[in-house]
């Protein structure tokens, strides 16, 4: 049934599907780990029980999200070999160690601090427990650092030589490779995105419970904290995104051309296309709504600066414009909506209506998944924008795949779709169920309803099932 299909396209769809499912969980748990550290710090500093309640509430959700990330991560560590064998052979000497460090870091975390953080509250002192929470928060960031370094190297490869077997091998210092040109920007942009994702989830949970009971103190606290994050971090993210874009313009101009929909070069000032429908056949954007010279102003900080278009890129090196154009607009649209929420919340605070404005709460509820949408759209933009290469300018996607036949990849793709929807459907259902319950005074500890968990080798309450209650 797959005979007519291109096995490489199927492999790309499979990778995109599995990595998107995987990344949803880390995007949430990176931000949540830091949020938990903040909650515990506030509890230790102020002694107010509300922070402890919120900590205990969100740590349950964290445990499930983290476990889902681990389980879906097993698939990723094998898929490079199963579907991208040539890429693994050629780029393995550089990408492999970076990913191995990511695995070791995650493993290290799982082996140690996570267990104490989840189950150790009544077993170790407050200071040690807080140190563990902090270690988990920092550990998720270290993990992100390694994987984003590996990913960034594929966009901006430096510090390598190509040996006689055609492999990319380290040319000099590993620091050049780790700190490749797009890495600092990508790391900043991704971590802030994870924080915003978490903020909007927390905000939506707070809003949901405020809509039911606007005096609910836990819901108020969550909502207020989340809206502060939105108000402060959304503008920061827009600046970080802009800097990341300028970095991309310098190193991967074709990607920016696709994002902007610039099929043609503009020798004296390029317009900013807000909306339109990219027409690949005619190499133009139909029904474009555009601001003259604004793109040059944003990208070059000079309204009359010339800006090259895709007509300067050989056709075989161009990314597909349609997907990149749209995913970029979805991401930016979400970012602007987040900024809008932040500003609205500041206005509501000023008017003393933050907890008393159902329309605001409904909007915050609707914005709950906005971070996930923005994160995935952003990844689609950057990854599809790197096409037709896996290692930008040096290794083509068409030359990276395993020599597999279409039926094999098609069958595995279907299996992944079925299993992932069943398995992660359950995970999402369960997280939503926990969220619907809301936080309460004297919040129960994590193990109240089961003597079992999927979160690491943990000398926790399974030993003393009554201990954590």
């Amino acid at each position: 049934m797959f005979e007519g299909l291109d096995p490489i396209l199927l492999a790309r769809i499979q990778f995109a599907f599995t990595v998107s499912f995987h990344f949803v969980f880390p995007a949430f748990s990176i931000g949540l780990a830091s949020y938990l550290a903040v909650l515990e710090a506030l509890w230790l500093k102020t002694g107010k029980p509300i922070y402890l309640d919120l900590f205990k509430y969100w740590v349950k959700i964290f445990a499930v999200a983290f476990a889902m990330g681990v389980v879906s991560g097993i698939v990723m560590s094998y898929q490079f070999g199963t579907n991208w064998a040539v890429f693994s052979d050629k780029a393995g000497p550089i990408i492999g160690p970076l990913m191995a460090y990511e695995v070791l870091t995650a493993f290290f975390l799982e082996a140690g601090f996570l267990g104490v953080m989840l189950f150790g509250m009544n077993k170790v002192g407050k200071g040690l427990h807080f140190a563990s929470t902090l270690a988990v928060a920092i550990g998720t960031l270290i993990s992100a650092t390694w994987i984003l370094s590996a990913n960034s190297w594929m966009h901006t490869p430096v510090g390598f030589e190509i040996n006689e077997a055609g492999q990319f091998v380290p040319g000099g210092s590993w620091w050049t490779i780790v700190f490749n040109p797009s890495f600092p920007y990508r790391l900043t942009h991704t971590v802030i995105a994870a924080y915003l994702t978490t903020a909007f989830v927390v905000g939506a949970v707070g809003a949901w419970h405020l809509l039911k009971d606007r005096t609910d103190p836990h819901a108020r606290k969550m909502f207020s904290m989340a809206m502060w994050m939105a108000a402060i971090v959304a503008p920061v993210q827009i600046v970080a995104g802009d800097l990341h874009g300028l970095n991309t313009l310098e190193h991967q101009p074709a990607k920016v051309m696709a994002m902007e929909g610039h099929y043609q070069s503009h020798p004296d000032g390029a317009p900013l296309i807000l909306f339109g429908i990219p027409n690949a056949a005619e190499k133009r954007v139909d029904y474009a709504v555009q601001i003259p010279k604004a793109s040059s102003l944003i990208l070059k900080h000079d309204a009359d600066a010339p800006l090259a278009g895709l007509d300067t890129i050989p056709p075989q090196d161009q990314p597909p414009v349609g997907i990149v154009f749209w995913s970029f607009r979805i991401m930016v649209g979400m970012g602007m909506a987040m900024l809008g929420m932040g500003v609205w919340s500041l206005f509501a605070r000023y008017r003393k209506r933050l907890y008393d404005w159902p329309l605001l709460h409904r909007a915050a509820l609707a914005m709950g998944p906005s971070g996930f949408v923005a994160v995935l759209a952003g990844w689609v933009t950057t990854e599809v924008g790197r096409q037709p290469f896996t290692v930008y300018r040096f290794l083509r996607t068409a030359h990276s795949a395993s020599p597999l036949e279409a039926p094999a990849v098609g069958a595995s793709l279907i299996a992944f779709v079925i299993v992932y929807f069943a398995v992660f459907g359950f995970g999402t259902w369960y997280i939503l169920k926990l969220m619907a319950k809301g936080a309460h005074s004297g919040e129960h500890h994590i193990d109240i309803d089961a003597p079992i968990r999927t979160a690491g080798i943990t000398p926790g309450p399974a030993q003393h099932p009554e201990g954590g209650r």
Partner: protein
């Protein structure tokens, strides 16, 4: 090939072999409990079996991720070729592991569908174990490589030999699972585990004999390594020790020892693993790729070695601590 490359590739081969064996030792018994799961009574017996592995299974599985990640980093060519050649069993294995991993949690969180999650747990465990065995067999029987890429079809892995190794690993893990339960439980669950251990041991020993004989018939090189003189003086110790361990195992079961059967079952696995090492070394893909041909450049292997040398002992130490904390018997309510 200078001296540094030589040493480093061998060091990494041993690190990865260690990770794989650590995985077999640790995940083997919890997969085995999944394999035996349908034979346990719904309710207290199943809950006890599940609880005995609850705190450790997730950490156990991380060794598999480490093995995969380490292979990609240290032997990228072998990683790519082997994973492609074994595409269907590898994909089925990870899907099986995903399923059983989530079933662990879902069984408690979603009691309305517990029956289905139990099926998912047992099914996922059996599929993952069988596929691991198939992978081993397919690797031993050889993989076609041409110009740094897999050169066979997507069903080449399937043969009577790879099915035999697949079934063998299922039997072996079932034995580990049964002996683990003998050690960690009491009462009716332990009685059942004692009853299961005997046929599981019989099946495992039969499988070891069959796979050993079949391996010798696969390829002249294997026969030479095992039966050539003077190698045979050394290699003959492996089946000899295996026989002694098997005898000790049956004695320990007859005398209803509690901890000993598990460790003797592990010793059987160690013997099989050593046998595998004798058959494979110095190849990573038999007769096609040596560890030196598949190795990443020295600077990549060095860079990673620093992290491995620091972190692996810490992980091992913590793992040992964790098993120590969870020593003793377990019941349906958890560890005591």
């Amino acid at each position: 090939m200078n001296a540094v490359d030589f040493d480093l590739a061998t060091v990494w081969a041993f690190i990865i072999a260690f990770a794989v064996f650590a995985y077999i030792v640790m995940d083997g018994f919890d997969l085995g409990i999944g394999i035996l799961f349908p034979t346990f009574k719904v309710g207290q017996e199943r809950d006890t079996a599940m609880n005995s592995i609850a705190p450790v299974w997730d950490g156990n599985e991380t060794w598999l991720v480490l093995g995969g990640g380490g292979l990609m980093a240290a032997f990228p060519l072998a990683y790519g070729v082997v994973m492609t050649a074994l595409y269907p069993p590898i994909i089925a294995m990870v899907l099986g592991l995903v399923f059983r991993g989530v079933a662990f949690e879902a069984r408690w969180r979603d009691p309305g569908h517990r029956r289905w999650w139990d099926v998912a747990f047992a099914g996922g465990s059996i599929v993952a174990s069988f596929c691991q065995g198939v992978t081993l067999g397919a690797l031993l029987q050889g993989i076609a490589i041409d110009n740094r890429a897999y050169a066979g079809g997507w069903l080449d892995w399937l043969s009577p030999f790879s099915v035999l190794t697949g079934v063998s690993v299922v039997c072996g893990y079932a034995l580990l699972g049964a002996t683990w339960l003998i050690w960690k439980t009491e009462g009716s669950t332990q009685d059942r585990a004692f009853r299961l251990a005997k046929p599981a041991a019989f099946a495992t020993l039969t499988a070891i004999v069959l796979v050993s004989l079949a391996t010798l018939n696969l390829d002249y090189a294997y026969r030479e390594k095992w039966l050539g003189y003077p190698a045979v003086l050394l290699t003959a110790q492996v089946p000899l020790l295996t026989a002694i361990i098997a005898f000790a195992f049956y004695r320990s079961i007859r005398k209803r020892r509690e901890a000993r059967p598990f460790f003797l079952a592990l010793a059987l696995f160690l013997m099989s693993f050593i046998g595998l090492g004798i058959s494979m070394y110095p190849y990573i893909v038999p007769d096609q790729l040596t560890i030196w041909e598949a190795a990443a450049p020295a600077s990549s292997q060095w860079f990673m070695l620093i992290g491995a040398v620091v972190l692996i002992p810490v992980i091992l130490g913590y793992t040992a601590f964790s098993y120590w904390v969870f020593r003793g018997k377990v019941t349906a309510e958890g560890y005591h």
